[in-house]
Subunit: 262 residues, 2 copies
């Protein structure tokens, strides 16, 4: 069992109830990373499903949970021949913190009938890391993963944002851990908010995130291609497309989030 | 009250319960259109919310409801200063048919900080209608709306699919009815499945659809820009971006659906 498997473990206590222990190693400042929390919820949802793969996950972020014990409650809604549907709720101190709808199915790894080619990305040797966060920043998530950024998309760090919402990076776990659907849940929410590249700063809370697992990832590095279409009324969208080391589209996400007041 | 307003009416019977009457005029063959059903659910969700606009809607399509009486049950999850969260369930004959998570907020119509320009689209005078469906086909939805297609994207009708998942059309309601968030719920699921343009045929059931309301639409025609990134394992994604008559991005959707066996 890898460190990530352990940090996302969900232990069944009765039909539809799982005990989890939220790991302080996945924090972004105070709050825990939303992708990590989705991975925890998905452990329980897949355990409770007749199918193996979480093909669709929606999460509403009601309230930020803190590190420590919590529960995932699964309410099966329907299981058909192709897919099963369930409601999933992350509960802490008796209160719902994340509300989810999860669809599970079994992907069989067939060759695609149609696949849009990935957008261009420079090689890993031309990409750059973010500086290590200060220990007092509470950004413990950074130590869990390696991100190598397409340089212009972190130009905002030195006061040179590109002027458009975007963020692109290679991704892998810091500990030896091949990508799987749970790692992908983390990956779709692992980039700095795309609005940083459009000049915004500050905490940009996710309100809703939906992602789809489209294929099981090959071993190796993932590529995260993040972008946005509209920043307006204090809201922005962030799309992340994830490609595996073979270039296959393995996950697609969109989140609706608030622009920080940083 | 327009015909569409009437067809999507939700009458409060008690806290969290709304009576609705599903209109046979929104059928695509046997089943009712998913966008129409989302509009009905949103009437109830917005009525039950302290906020005016459904900024995020996720629907899992568990079972196809039939025309006639049904209920929408709303379970408020949290109301904050900026947004409120609710669970919404469409129930017919005592069974959940659609399960939803809805986030409401109030959009204030500010000028965008950043907006991606829309993809190119020929003028309406260069676009074409679909032939009227045969009465026995049960495609009653077609009469409710006018769609003018970018010609190559309905080449599949005469055996000339473009080879890629795409569909683009101008949209307005057939009866005088300016676009609003409920019309947008219909619009994001109003195009023929994008996979038809990649050579697939047959009933392509939506499994999950999430859409975001990004701005209130100006009066006039809408433009629906539909595309997909991957067709694999019997699954496909369909993205629809909706622009209003002023070119503003007003809605974004993605659905995960099954390829028909037509």
């Amino acid at each position: 069992m890898t460190k990530f498997d352990e940090a996302t473990q969900a232990i069944k206590v009765d039909e539809g109830t799982y005990d989890v222990c939220l790991d302080p190693g996945y924090a972004i400042g105070g709050p825990l990373n939303g992708g990590y929390l989705m991975a925890v919820i998905l452990r329980a949802a897949v355990d409770a499903s007749p199918f193996e793969h979480p093909v669709s996950t929606t999460a509403q972020f009601l309230k930020a949970p803190v590190a420590g014990p919590a529960q995932v409650r699964i309410e099966p809604l329907k299981a058909g021949r192709t897919a099963a549907f369930a409601r999933a709720t992350l509960v802490q101190d008796g209160m719902a913190h994340i509300e989810g709808l999860i669809t599970t199915a079994t992907l069989n790894g067939a060759e695609p009938v149609f696949e849009e080619p990935a957008d261009d990305m420079p090689g890993r040797d031309e990409c750059v890391k973010l500086p290590d966060p200060k220990p007092e920043s509470g950004m413990t998530l950074n130590a869990q993963m390696e991100l190598l950024f397409d340089p212009p998309t972190i130009g905002w760090l030195k006061g040179e944002p590109t002027g458009r919402p975007e963020s692109r990076a290679y991704f892998r776990m810091a500990e030896p851990q091949e990508p799987d659907p749970y790692v992908l849940a983390l990956a779709v929410d692992a980039l700095p908010p795309v609005v940083f590249s459009a000049g915004a700063r500050g905490w940009a809370p996710t309100v809703e995130l939906t992602w789809h697992l489209r294929a099981l990832p090959a071993p190796g590095w993932l590529t995260l291609l993040g972008s946005g279409r509209l920043i307006s009324d204090g809201w922005f969208d962030e799309e992340v497309e994830v490609r595996d080391s073979a270039g296959r589209l393995v996950a697609q996400s969109r989140q609706l989030a608030r622009v920080g007041r940083g």
